[in-house]
């Protein structure tokens, strides 16, 4: 039997997380949640998700710091990261880290699912 794709959501907005989690679970994905970058980094290491959905503005450790640490770890760097943010732009500068895709909120749940499925397909899952 094909294993369940595992998705890690790193976002401090509980309402948004609940919506994203609900939408993704409806597709029978396994969803893990972290509310800041530090927690997210730990869970990314221990749970080995297939995709990471990353918010940028977060307490404790923000998305920038998360991505920097994340890209340093060769075991993690292969896993695609979808960055989602409420910034209206990247403050005039490109983000100083590699993410697979960068999107601006709000994103409709069905659009989020389409994005995730697109990446999973590319991973062969």
């Amino acid at each position: 039997m094909k294993r369940k794709p595992k998705i890690l959501i790193v976002d401090d907005d509980v309402d948004l997380v609940q919506v994203m989690k609900g939408a993704l679970e409806s597709k029978l994905f396994e969803v893990i949640v972290a509310h800041n970058g530090k927690d997210g980094l730990q869970k990314a290491k221990s749970e080995k998700p297939d995709i990471v959905i990353l918010d940028i503005m977060m307490p404790v450790m923000d998305g920038w710091a998360f991505a920097e640490q994340y890209n340093k770890d060769p075991a993690l760097a292969k896993t695609p990261v979808l960055a989602l943010t409420s910034f209206s732009d990247s403050l005039g500068q490109p983000f100083p880290f590699q993410v697979s895709e960068y999107m601006q909120k709000p994103l409709k749940p069905k659009d989020l699912i389409a994005k995730v499925e697109g990446h999973l397909k590319r991973l062969g899952l």
Partner: protein
């Protein structure tokens, strides 16, 4: 008078060695203070004059003996002329070596050179006078030449000392001859043989000479002292001004750094404000869409309609927040930092993605005409995309039938983009205010913030371009044509930097 001159000191040994190795009179001269330059010049003139003096003595002796038949032993005079010639050769080299000295050392060395020269001249003149008739020789007044020189090149006190030396020397000579301690050389055929023994005449000549010597020293040192003081004041003033300028410049650059810092903080602040204002709206909208998309179970048509309205109102607010906070960011010059060389065709293609289907849904044709050369401009791609999206979606919104066309024309210095439609058009009285903040056309019903065009204008102008609107048909005012220009790569470079 105190002659202590405060001059910049050469601290670097290598620098002074370097200056010394330079050929005489080269660029080192430009570093000297005006006072130093004047001293070198004057000592040089003194040396040049001495060549003439040698010639003059020989000529005067020849004329005296040959033309006027004045008889006296001329050999010592010629020997003395030779001596003067030789020591002047030495002084010539010594004086020239001054020009290779570093600034600060020149004054001290130059004064030594002048002192030695004046003293040597006084001695040789006294000896010369002795062999050429002593007090009877009218050239006795040549002492003046040396004391005036001393007054010009040397400090006041030194000039008076040398004047005293001159007066003492001639007095000594005259009285030694008067007393018969040294033999008197008689200028036969020129003066009476015993006149040097007439005390009243001797005293009169000496007093006249001494008066002239001291008098001229007083005049020259007074004038030259004042001149030197002014030169020094000028140099000091120049230094002070330069110091003040440097200080001002440093202050200004510190202020620029501070302003740049404040601007960066402000931009960052605006970014965070936008984010924090948007975040709750984004969450709310996601929750509503979640319900709308049926994840929480079936909803009725009535509920769906209301929730869709809520989503639209949130969309409006999200756009307004982004637009409002965009304005100060554009105005603080953020765009110039995003600029790079970009293909305008690519920007336009990207902005039309998605709008294509919107036009189709309304049954409108969206025609696009772009040059195959794909001109590149120096611009902020995301911002130009924003302008295009705004203008094209406006055109689609306000056109019910017909077509919306986008035309790109490459000119020599800029690229021109025209967006025309066959829509409701713009009333002539609305035209002048169309690009102002929050202005909404009087014949417009669709929702909007009234900021789209004013932001587009700001973006285009930040690129150094222009934007304007025309009625393609001035009679009926049907349809509209928006045009904007963006300077090509390089045209804006100098302004942007």
């Amino acid at each position: 008078m105190s002659e202590n001159v405060r001059v910049p000191e050469i601290k670097d040994e290598a620098a002074s060695a370097h200056t010394k190795s330079m050929t005489v009179g080269e660029s080192s001269a430009s570093q000297y203070t005006p006072e130093e330059r004047a001293l070198i010049l004057r000592v040089g003139v003194y040396v040049r004059m001495r060549w003439l003096v040698v010639l003059g003595i020989v000529a005067a002796t020849l004329i005296a003996s040959l033309v006027f038949d004045i008889s006296f032993p001329t050999l010592p005079v010629y020997i003395i002329s030779g001596v003067i010639f030789l020591y002047n050769l030495a002084f010539f080299r010594w004086t020239n070596s001054l020009k290779a000295e570093p600034t600060g050392v020149v004054l001290r060395k130059g004064e030594t050179v002048a002192n030695v020269q004046v003293l040597t001249d006084l001695v040789i003149l006294t000896v010369l006078l002795h062999y050429a008739g002593g007090i009877e020789n009218p050239f006795i007044f040549f002492y003046l030449a040396h004391t005036i020189t001393a007054g010009i090149v040397l400090p006041q006190r030194r000039a008076y000392q040398l004047a005293t030396v001159a007066v003492s020397m001639i007095t000594l000579l005259v009285f030694l001859e008067y007393a018969g301690a040294v033999p008197h050389v008689n200028l036969e055929g020129f003066v009476l043989p015993d006149r040097y023994k007439e005390l009243s005449r001797v005293l009169a000549v000496l007093i006249a000479l001494a008066t002239l010597v001291y008098g001229s020293t007083y005049v020259t040192t007074a004038v030259l002292g004042e001149l030197r003081r002014r030169q020094r004041d000028m140099a000091a003033l120049k230094d002070k001004l330069l110091e003040k300028r440097t200080e001002e410049l440093e202050q200004i650059s510190a202020e620029v750094v501070k302003l740049e810092d404040e601007r960066r903080n402000f931009t960052r602040f605006l970014g965070v404000v936008t984010h924090d204002l948007r975040s709750p709206l984004v969450a709310t909208q996601s929750v509503i869409t979640y319900i709308l998309e049926g994840y929480t179970g079936e909803i009725t048509y009535g509920q769906k309609d209301l929730l869709e309205r809520a989503v639209r109102r949130i969309d409006e607010l999200l756009t307004l927040i982004t637009d409002l906070l965009d304005i100060p960011r554009i105005e603080t010059g953020q765009i110039s930092r995003e600029m790079r060389e970009i293909s305008l065709n690519e920007v336009i293609q990207k902005s039309l993605e998605g709008l294509d289907s919107v036009a189709q849904q309304k049954g409108l044709a969206l025609k696009v005409e772009m040059p195959s050369s794909s001109p590149s401009v120096y611009g902020a791609g995301r911002r130009l995309q924003q302008v295009m999206t705004n203008l094209v979606s406006n055109a689609i919104n306000y056109t019910n039938e017909g077509a919306v066309s986008v035309k790109v024309i490459e000119n020599e210095k800029d690229v021109r983009v025209e967006i025309s439609d066959t829509g409701i058009g713009i009333k002539p009285e609305d035209m002048p205010r169309l690009f102002t903040d929050f202005f909404r056309g009087s014949n417009v019903t669709a929702k909007g913030t009234g900021l789209g065009l004013s932001i587009s204008k700001r973006i285009v102008e930040a690129h150094g371009g222009k934007i304007w609107v025309e009625s393609p048909d001035p009679e009926t005012h049907a349809g509209s044509r928006f045009t904007f220009t963006i300077p090509k790569k390089g045209a804006e470079m100098t302004k942007g930097k």
